[in-house]
Each structure stands twice: as structure tokens, then as C-alpha cells.
């Protein structure tokens, strides 16, 4: 797509995608390239610091956040295939650095150019038809809006819009879609009984939706839901939105 030929986006791939779901990262790269974006990947990147920040270790989070500020200082756009990690950069970094004018200014500059994957496609690249990335998907899909994407970033319609335009894809409604899946980072291992209760309900609703695939924009939520689905020997697949948009992904 020549329209985007001048756009360069650096990926913040997130630690979860890097270490557990590299295929998702590959799909992100392919989709962006199909849309004409020049994709960069600062290779020193690791983790945004959210796991420690959410558990209350702000010093440790600060250490990791500083690295991210540094690595993406010169980026034109930063694209993150996770609502939660994008929210960490856009929202929580401003809290982390609110006592330091210089770093706060850097954090604000980074926040202003950081986008979650789906909102980057819809709001920056102005994709209004998923066919533009060559997407096609035969099957039924239901969408789980992850909490930080929905409530920290306010990204609600963008992923739906993309899914709706995927040729062949039939969307199924998900009851209680906006209810948390129970992941919550360290919450899931601090209070496994509550987390389990939450994911059990989520899984029941997904099964009731009749979809063969669950889609979300956060692999950590999908790790939680997918892990519970697998435990129940469910055949329902879990996919990141990028994998649905990427025709080369299986």
C-alpha cells in the first residue's frame, strides 16, 4: 500500500510474545509490511515493566521503563501487539515518572506515538477493510476485549471493525465479553482460586458463543483463557488479531 510507504513503525513486541508466542510477532510484522509500513525492531528491548509495576515494585518498574524510553526515543511510531503493555507505556509510565520533569517529558513524547496494534491499523493507517492486508478467515470467531485495551486505552470499536471486514469470517457474540478473564498478572498466582473462578466463567461464555476461534489483542489474556480451554480439552482455538489478519498464519 503506497499510502503508508512513508510510515516507519518500531515494534515493542512484549516479553510474552517474544518468549511464548513468537508467531504472533511474525504475523504483526507481515501485516504491517503488507500495509506498506517499514517495520523496525530495536533488539535490546525486553519487558515494559508491567508485571513488577502492578505488583507494587515501582523502583524495578522504573528501571525497565527507562530502558523503553531510551530504546524508542527516535521512533516515529511504536506499535505494541498488547493492549496491556501499550497501556503501561501510555498510562502507567506517566505515573512512574511523575516526580521527574525530564523523564516525564520523555514519557509523554513516547506515549504520544505509541499505539496498540489494532488502533494503529484503524486510526493511523486508516485501514477500514481487513482485505487490505490480504486477510481471509473461514470460520466463526468471537472477540474478548481485554480490560486494559478497553478501559485504559479506550480501544473498543477498532478490533471489531477489523474483524467485521475479514472476508469469510463470521462473528459470534460473546456474553459477558467485557468481564475480566481473571488474568491480572501476578493476581492469577496470588489468588489462583479467584482467578480460576473468573476464567471458568469466561470459558463457559466462549463455549456458549458457538465460535471455533477466540480472538483478542492481548496474549497474556489468551494464555490464561487458552490454558483453561486446553485443560478442558476444548477444540476452540485462541488467536491474536494479527494472526487473523495475516493470510500466511495458520
Amino acid at each position: 500500500m503506497t499510502a503508508n510507504a512513508k510510515i516507519t513503525a518500531d515494534l515493542f513486541i512484549t516479553c510474552v510474545v517474544d518468549q511464548l508466542y513468537p508467531d504472533v510477532g511474525v504475523s504483526v510484522v507481515r501485516v504491517l509490511r503488507r500495509l506498506g509500513v517499514t517495520v523496525g525492531f530495536p533488539t535490546d528491548q525486553t519487558c515494559c515493566g508491567q508485571p513488577v509495576y502492578n505488583t507494587g515494585y515501582s523502583q524495578q518498574a522504573r528501571t525497565l521503563a527507562k530502558r523503553v524510553l531510551e530504546q524508542f526515543k527516535d521512533s516515529e511510531y511504536v506499535v505494541v501487539p498488547s493492549g496491556s503493555c501499550a497501556a503501561t507505556i501510555r498510562v502507567f509510565y506517566l505515573e512512574i515518572f511523575d516526580d521527574d520533569t525530564e523523564l516525564l517529558a520523555e514519557a509523554k513524547a513516547l506515549a504520544a506515538k505509541t499505539y496498540e496494534f489494532s488502533e494503529f491499523l484503524v486510526n493511523v493507517l486508516k485501514v477500514d477493510d481487513a482485505a487490505d492486508c490480504g486477510a481471509g478467515h473461514e470460520g466463526t470467531v468471537t472477540y474478548h476485549p481485554s480490560c486494559h485495551l478497553l478501559r485504559e486505552l479506550g480501544v473498543k470499536s477498532e478490533p471489531q471493525k477489523l474483524l467485521q471486514s475479514v472476508p469469510g469470517l463470521e462473528q459470534k457474540e460473546l456474553e459477558g465479553a467485557e468481564i475480566c478473564c481473571g488474568f491480572g498478572g501476578t493476581f492469577s498466582v496470588k489468588f489462583p482460586h479467584i482467578s480460576e473462578g473468573m476464567v471458568t466463567d469466561k470459558v463457559a461464555n466462549i463455549q456458549a458463543s458457538g465460535a471455533d476461534t477466540l480472538v483478542s489483542c492481548d496474549m497474556s489474556c489468551l494464555m490464561n483463557i487458552g490454558g483453561a480451554l486446553n485443560r478442558q480439552e476444548s477444540a476452540i482455538k485462541v488467536r491474536h488479531l494479527a494472526q487473523i489478519l495475516d493470510p500466511e498464519s495458520e
Binding site: 510477532g25 505488583t55 482460586h193
Partner: protein, 491 residues
């Protein structure tokens, strides 16, 4: 103060989650409130609703920033109306003010309308110790008083009880035949309480708001019991937190739109009762004395802390409880003290002391649903995070919420993630361990089938795999894939 059981959160929530009856009750009531609330918003449109919320929040911000001024104004106007304002710094002081009135006015029977603050003070046992008969007159409160329990929800105190539970309770405590017809049960309570309203010498009420410019106490109820408590007995004591003051009657209207809609999904409650001072000479009825007790009991600590101050804006509508995926699984009692749910996880630690309730701020997935529904836009997740910060790294070990190992792990994590090299080695080691495990079933910290870890026998991970599988490490990281095949340098 009532017994503090916030320390037992894990055990209590584990037991609660296994109680199917509780879950049904929670689903039924919370869902009903939640759906009705959404209907009310749709009716007025989201934009208008958001405008109302912003306006209400502005009033709260302004009042709390100028609390000393409005408390003085309130004092002046309560006195001008012939009433008396008392200020209590803690539960003991508040209870002693009530006890003093009871002793000096020869009080024998007390009727109470719903008051979370009196629960917070543990007032009923104090009154009973004075030999006074105490009657809770809100139906839900009456039920839990009979059952000798504590409220489990801010607006529906007996939410955890089914109608069968209540029928059995009435049979046991009132000696009447078992009858689970809700109207019959309500009628029974009504008949008993009607007499008590007339016999009572003292009526104690809470307050949803107190209006500074007029000295008026405002309560909103659906049963009219509040009106009877505040007008029939010869003495009326209103008890509430000092943050409940609002500047003017006009401000009140902003909250009257929001509170019923947020709490139960009603446009307005059946009764909005306003009391200004005792009966005037030309009034036909009303109490001879009006006392208003404003309680601090830890609130000034919240006021002094900019990160937690907004907890004082809470109008106790309960919407954050109804929407909370944690509350809706464990109910109110698991939180171990008077205030449950997301806002309780902020307020309780501040009121009972963080060392005793340090687990509560952890018990949230930080999904943000509470903030979204709050009629005064209170950022509860942010405050939970702040409390987590206060408990994670405090030099005071009584404040630290997690075992020492967590701090070590947090530091280790930051070290590992600060060094891409170290991380690479870590991942390689992980893959090796995974392979080793597959080859030598004797050394088996993990049970995997190649793709999934089904059962981890190592701490922390085992908590995950109790009910969920965990993906194993794939052959390559994204970093490796990028370098090998994705980087534009290669193509």
C-alpha cells in the same frame, strides 16, 4: 469497632468461592442492579450521564479540598436549627457520645435505620451493653441482625441470604410457621417494627449526605423506615462520616440523580428524607433533640494522602461491587470488615490499618470495571496500585504484604529484563530444562506433553497449573526469528 477479619482474606474467599448458594445470590442481585443501572443510563444517554458524573465529582473535589470550611458552616447551621453537632475522632469517642445521650436521656428502646458508619463503629453491642433494646429497621439490616451477621453489601446488606434462608431464620428466631413468600415475610417484619417505631425513645440514622448551607441530614431509602426513625422517637441521632458533607441543596440534586440510578437502577428511591434540627414549636411532631455525629475514625489519614484522598468522594452506591468480577465471586464477608468490594479494598486498609488488611489491595485483577461504573469517577485501580506500592517495598516489615521471596523475585526479574544477554541465557536454560524433563522422567518438575505444561511442581507455577495449562517455551523467541528471517537486513 467490630471484629477485624481482613487478615483471613485468602481462607475466607476460598471458602466463599466454593459456596454455590452464595454465588447464585450474588449473581441474581448484582446482575439485577447492574442491568437496571444500564437501563437508566441509556434512558438519559451516556453523554448526559458522563456530564452528571463530572459535575458530582467536581462538587466532591471542591468540598473535600475545603472540608474544614464546610464542616464549620455545617456546625453553624445545625446549631442554628436547634441541633447539636458532635465530632468524634474515633469509634470509641463516637460510641461514647451516643452512650452519654442514652444514659442522660433515660433511653430504653432504639430504632435504627441503615447506617454503614454505625456498623463501622460497632455501635449495636455498645448499646446492648447499656441494657438498651436495639432494633434495626431496614429489612435487610433486620434480617442480618436476627441472624447475628454483618452486612455483605453496601446497599443490600442481606444480599447473601436467599428467601429460603430468611424464612428459616424467621421460623427459628420469631417462632412463626415457615413461609417463604416474600410479601408475607416483609409484612411480618413490618408488623413487628411498626410497634417498635412507636415505642422507641431514640432513633439512630445514618446519612447519605449532610448539607452545610442548611444543616440538613439527607437519607434515601425505599422502605420509609428512615423517616420513621428520624421523626417518631423523642431523640434523633444521625451518625455519618465527616466526608458526607456537601455545600448546598443545589449540589444535593446532582447526587440525587446519580445515587439511586447507580445503586439499584431506580430513577429515585421511594423516600428521600430530609431532617433539619429537632421539631420546631409549630411542628406537630418530630424529635425534641437532634444530634449529628461526624466521625473521623481514620478518614483524616485518607484526606492527608493525596493518592488516596479520592476514596472520600465515595457515595456508597455499591455499583463497583455489583460490577466487580472478584466481589461477584466471593461476596462481601470474605473482605473481612464492614466495607467490601473494590472500594472496601481501599477504605478498609485505611480504616483498620494497612498491616491488618494488606492483602485486600492485592485481590484485584485491576480490570478497571469499578472505575468505569463509579458515579463520581473514583480511580479505584489507581488507589489499589498505590496501596500495593506502599506494601511491597515498605521498610516496615509489618506493612509488607508478600513473603520475602517476592521481593527477591521482583529484583531478579528487573535484573534479568535489564539485560538482553542474560535474558537470552535464561530462555536457553529454560528450553534445556524443558528438554531434560522430557528425556528423564525422573527429574520432573514439570509434566508436559511437549506443547503444554500440564502440571508444574514448582512454587508459583503450580498455582497456575492447578486449573490451567501453560504453554511451553517455543523453539525460538521472536528476537531469534527477527534476526534469522524477519530483519530487513536479511531480505
Amino acid at each position: 469497632m467490630p471484629e477485624i477479619k481482613t487478615q483471613d482474606f485468602t481462607a475466607a474467599s476460598t471458602a466463599a468461592i466454593l459456596d454455590p448458594k452464595l454465588r447464585r445470590a450474588l449473581d441474581r442481585v448484582a446482575e439485577g442492579f447492574h442491568v437496571a443501572r444500564l437501563d437508566r443510563i441509556e434512558e438519559v444517554t451516556q453523554d448526559v450521564w458522563d456530564g452528571w458524573k463530572d459535575q458530582a465529582r467536581e462538587i466532591k473535589v471542591h468540598t473535600i479540598e475545603n472540608l474544614d470550611y464546610y464542616l464549620e458552616l455545617l456546625d453553624k447551621n445545625v446549631t442554628a436549627a436547634g441541633g447539636q453537632l458532635h465530632f468524634a475522632k474515633d469509634a470509641d469517642e463516637a460510641n461514647e457520645i451516643v452512650a452519654h445521650i442514652v444514659r442522660t436521656r433515660n433511653i430504653k428502646i432504639v430504632t435504627k435505620s441503615k447506617s454503614m458508619v454505625s456498623e463501622e463503629l460497632g455501635l449495636n453491642p455498645v448499646l446492648e451493653a447499656l441494657g438498651v433494646e436495639v432494633w434495626e429497621t431496614d429489612l435487610g439490616e433486620y434480617i442480618i441482625q436476627l441472624a447475628e451477621e454483618t452486612p455483605s453489601h453496601l446497599v443490600a446488606p442481606a444480599l447473601h441470604k436467599s428467601k429460603e434462608d430468611v424464612a428459616a431464620l424467621f421460623t427459628e428466631k420469631l417462632g412463626i410457621p415457615y413461609d417463604e413468600d416474600i410479601y408475607h415475610m416483609a409484612a411480618t417484619a413490618r408488623t413487628i417494627l411498626r410497634d417498635k417505631f412507636m415505642e422507641a425513645d431514640l432513633g439512630i440514622s445514618g446519612a447519605n449526605f449532610v448539607v452545610a448551607e442548611t444543616g440538613t441530614l439527607v437519607i434515601i431509602t425505599n422502605e420509609g423506615n428512615g423517616r420513621l426513625c428520624t421523626s417518631a422517637p423523642r431523640v434523633h441521632i444521625g451518625i455519618t462520616g465527616m466526608e458526607k458533607v456537601i455545600p448546598s441543596m443545589q449540589d444535593l440534586s446532582a447526587f440525587l440523580r446519580l445515587l439511586p440510578r447507580s445503586a439499584t437502577g431506580q430513577r429515585i428511591t421511594s423516600y428521600v428524607s430530609m431532617t433539619t434540627g429537632p421539631r420546631r414549636s409549630d411542628d406537630e411532631d418530630g424529635p425534641e433533640e437532634f444530634h449529628l455525629i461526624l466521625v473521623d475514625n481514620g478518614r483524616s489519614k485518607m484526606l492527608a494522602d493525596p493518592a488516596l484522598r479520592e476514596a472520600l468522594y465515595c457515595i456508597r452506591c455499591g455499583a463497583c461491587l455489583n460490577i466487580c468480577p472478584v466481589y461477584s465471586r466471593i461476596g462481601g464477608h470474605a473482605y473481612g470488615w464492614v466495607y467490601p468490594g473494590p472500594i472496601g479494598a481501599v477504605v478498609s486498609p485505611m480504616l483498620v490499618g494497612l498491616p491488618k488488611a494488606k492483602e485486600l489491595p492485592q485481590a484485584s485483577s485491576l480490570c478497571g470495571a469499578c472505575r468505569e461504573v463509579c458515579p463520581v469517577n473514583i480511580d479505584i485501580p489507581k488507589m489499589l496500585l498505590d496501596l500495593r506500592k506502599k506494601t511491597a517495598e515498605s521498610p516496615d516489615s509489618s506493612l509488607r504484604s508478600a513473603p520475602e521471596i517476592e521481593r527477591v523475585l521482583a529484583r531478579l526479574y528487573a535484573k534479568l529484563m535489564s539485560s538482553p544477554k542474560l535474558l537470552k541465557m535464561g530462555v536457553k536454560f529454560g528450553r534445556f530444562a524443558q528438554k531434560l524433563e522430557r528425556m528423564t522422567p525422573v527429574f520432573s518438575p514439570l509434566t508436559t506433553d511437549g506443547k503444554w505444561i500440564r502440571n508444574a511442581h514448582i512454587p508459583i507455577l503450580s498455582r497456575w497449573t492447578k486449573s490451567r495449562d501453560l504453554p511451553t517455551l517455543p523453539k525460538q523467541t521472536f528476537h531469534e526469528l527477527w534476526e534469522k528471517e524477519l530483519s530487513p537486513d536479511d531480505s
